[in-house]
């Protein structure tokens, strides 16, 4: 079974975020006043071949910890979204 998985990579709490800070500083100029605590991360979607959802989660977690996130400054959250629709490489649909 192929499962669609979302990996969110974000900076660990306490690690300075130059991108988030820059976006936050730009907001008032655009008229947004009630927004703060901007943190920028990455959302990475994968499809994982696994016998069940738990195994898909486990495999995606290994990928996230070994490659997708740099544990020195980042942490990752893995969510199995559901069964993946058939798709080609890099998500190209037929």
């Amino acid at each position: 079974m192929k499962y669609e998985v979302l990996v969110e990579v974000r900076l660990r709490p306490g690690i300075a975020d130059p991108q988030g800070a820059t976006i936050e500083r730009a907001l008032p100029a655009l008229g947004f006043s009630a927004v703060d605590a901007v943190r920028v991360g990455k959302a990475i979607r994968l499809s994982v071949d696994a016998p069940d959802e738990a195994a898909a989660h486990e495999r995606a977690t290994l990928v996230a910890e070994r490659l997708l996130a740099n544990p020195v400054i980042e942490e990752s959250v893995v969510t199995v979204i559901g069964v993946a629709e058939p798709a080609g490489r890099n998500g190209a649909r037929p």
Binding site: I15, P18, Q19, T22, L67, L68, V72, I73
Partner: protein, 232 residues
């Protein structure tokens, strides 16, 4: 006897020829042979030092250095470093060394999100590293920087260790990128693995604005020569 130095080339490296040329032209007392080593090689045996040059290894996809650390040559570089071999990572090479876990910390995007391309002043903060053995403690060097992700980041505990173990190699005199504690370069515990954001190889010729990079590269050649002699 001249030192033999391997300069690793990843797909996307772009400073390897500058490093080779600079190492070959240091002059008397620092004779070095330098040659390119493709990232697909599984050994760095026979070299007296290894340099990971600047550029955009594997396109810097995902994060700078994130994919390069899995290049075949990196396992050999890790073993070489563990055996005491001199290893220097310049700019992107520094990012590769942190991703590979050979140096602590990480290089984040510059504060202000500006790509920086200019000559800056850095101060030599220790002479116990293979890159600063022949320099003078406290000496100020004018060196070019050329990076978007040179903002050295580490947690407070790591910073304390770096300071206590005298592992901060270079500090900016006027922090250009937001690096923790003004850090421009660090080394491992033994001092044989060094990473720095500035480019010493671009400051070795009278035609460039500064020749302050020569002291660093001469230090590396001296360390490489010592390494050979120990190994032989």
């Amino acid at each position: 006897m001249s030192a033999r130095i391997g300069v690793v080339v990843f797909p996307g490296s772009n400073c390897e020829h500058d490093v080779v040329k600079a190492l070959r032209c240091l002059g008397s007392g620092a004779e070095a042979e330098a040659e390119l080593v493709w990232h697909g090689e599984r050994t760095v045996a026979g070299y007296d030092a290894v340099v990971l040059p600047g550029g955009f290894a594997h396109g810097d996809y995902l994060r700078p250095g994130a994919l390069a650390r899995f290049s075949p040559v990196m396992e050999a570089v890790s073993k070489y470093a563990a055996d005491g071999g001199p290893v220097v990572g310049i700019c992107n090479g520094f990012q590769v060394l942190t991703e590979a876990g050979l140096l602590p910390g990480a290089l984040q995007k510059n504060v202000g999100l500006r790509f920086l391309c200019k000559t800056v002043a850095v101060r030599v903060c220790t002479t116990r590293s293979v890159l600063t053995g022949e320099t003078v403690l406290g000496e100020e060097l004018a060196l070019p920087i050329n990076h978007f992700e040179g903002n050295f980041t580490c947690d407070a505990a790591t910073l304390e260790v770096l300071r206590a173990e005298d592992r901060v190699v270079l500090r900016y005199t006027d922090n250009p990128n937001g690096s923790v504690d003004d850090i421009a370069g660090v080394c491992n515990e033994e001092g044989n693995v060094v990473g720095l954001m500035p480019h010493p190889e671009r400051a070795c010729d009278a035609m460039t604005a500064s020749t302050d990079g020569t002291g660093l590269l001469r230090s590396l050649v001296a360390a490489a020569t010592r390494h050979t002699r120990l190994a032989v």
